[in-house]
């Protein structure tokens, strides 16, 4: 599955998280498992606390990080898919 620019992503409801100086810990309340995010992942996590399209998310991050847009899009997509596999984000077309 690939994310389209208009695909909407948002953090799932059954989780709680906290930020430790730019690194986040997320607790999935369904299974009690903790997940950790590095600073860039944490920035993504903050952005998807409200629904955003994948295109919007990518544009915000491209403006904030000095990185190739295609590479960033691919990395963010990977991250979102992994978060979705662990029921931490909801993805809707």
């Amino acid at each position: 599955m690939h994310l389209l620019d208009e695909t909407t992503v948002v953090a799932a409801r059954e989780q709680v998280s906290c930020d430790f100086g730019g690194e986040a810990a997320i607790l999935n309340l369904k299974n009690g498992i903790y997940y950790g995010l590095d600073p860039v992942g944490t920035r993504v996590w903050h952005l998807i606390q409200q629904p955003r399209t994948f295109g919007e998310l990518r544009n915000i991050l491209v403006s904030e990080y000095d990185v190739d847009a295609a590479r960033l899009g691919s990395d963010v997509e990977d991250l979102l898919m992994r978060l979705a596999e662990n029921d931490l984000v909801e993805i809707s077309a």
Binding site: E14, V16, C18, F20, G21, L29, Y34, G36
Partner: protein, 325 residues
């Protein structure tokens, strides 16, 4: 609160109104909560768990069940059985005939009481705490990591024990207070002999372990809450070899958080409310208390050096202004 029970003890900051005498100091002032402890015959427990399928960890002698009214039932085969009411305010207990009183008290005042604490909204930790210059020094780590042996070494140098096994922390005016547990320590006989001398007699904790329970007198126990100076997460014996140096390093906030969460007490209550509270509590503590990882070789003769290194650490690393470090 009007209570029909003849004894009122203080433990972990809780006023425990008990039907039976316990090896605890009498409750004197202030409390975080009030709880009641009563005994009941076998028929009470068999009625309570009728139709309940008890869970058992493979190879364990511990069984657990959750009742429809949110009460929790737990029993240890050679010790006793316990029912903790859903609101955490009342514990009903029954020692089994073959249990020693000391063993029963250990399971009552740690494992069973942990259910009541969690149900009452507290977040207990699996830790041992010694008191150094009026401050609590917390040791976190799995069973067998050396928390109690290290604490015994501190006792040998004249410091006091605050709690061994279960720790209750509370934030008070941006300080973190650690509350005193039962005045006892669990040690292997050789460790006790080395650090506590021959005068103390221990009672075996349970048939599955050689660890003994040693009561501690008032000289060796602290009965008041103390502010926490630092938390040390002990590296496991498998992470250290004999020739390794003693060292400690600060953990990042996220690592500190994970160490605290890993060492919460009672992993049977896992509802979303408790998990969420656990996350927020651990995150808050990390922002208030330094957490360090401690590596040391598991060699008895080195434990006094580990103790001295921790005391030096407390002065030089955690109070650099005072020591000019």
């Amino acid at each position: 609160m009007k209570c029909p029970y003849p004894h009122v003890y203080g433990v972990y900051g809780i006023a425990l109104h008990s039907e039976i005498p316990l090896p605890l100091p009498l409750h004197e002032h202030g409390e975080l909560a009030q709880m009641e402890l009563q005994t009941a015959p076998a028929s009470f427990f068999s009625d309570a768990i009728r139709g309940i399928r008890l869970q058992q960890v493979w190879g364990s002698w511990y069984e657990f069940g959750r009742l429809a009214d949110r009460s929790s039932y737990a029993r240890w085969r050679t010790v006793g059985e316990f029912l903790v009411f859903g609101d955490g305010r009342r514990i009903v207990c029954r020692p089994f005939d073959i249990a020693t009183a000391e063993s029963f008290y250990v399971y009552l005042l740690a494992q069973a009481l942990s259910f009541a604490l969690v149900k009452s909204g507290f977040e207990p930790f699996h830790a041992t705490v010694v008191v150094v210059n009026g401050n609590g020094v917390v040791f976190l780590g799995d069973s067998g990591f050396g928390k109690s042996s290290l604490a015994a070494c501190f006792l040998d140098a004249g410091h006091q024990m605050l709690t061994d096994d279960l720790l209750l922390l509370q934030v008070c005016s941006s300080r973190v207070l650690a509350y005193p547990g039962p005045p006892r320590i669990k040690l292997f006989a050789k460790t006790a002999h080395r650090f506590l001398g021959d005068a103390l007699a221990g009672v075996r904790m349970n048939p599955e372990t050689e660890k003994l329970i040693f009561p501690l007198d008032a000289r060796r126990s602290c009965f008041s809450p103390v502010p926490v100076k630092a938390i040390y997460s002990l590296a496991g014996p498998g992470e250290v070899v004999r020739k390794d140096q003693i060292r400690s390093e600060p953990l990042s906030p996220r690592q500190s958080f994970l160490e605290l969460v890993k060492n919460t007490f009672n992993r049977r209550i896992l509802d979303a409310d408790r998990l969420e509270r656990q996350l927020h509590e651990a995150a808050r503590l990390v922002s208030l208390v330094p957490v360090r990882k401690l590596w040391f070789p598991r060699v008895w003769s080195q434990l006094p050096s580990v103790r001295d290194a921790i005391i030096c650490d407390l002065q030089q690393v955690l109070e650099p202004d005072i020591c000019g470090g």
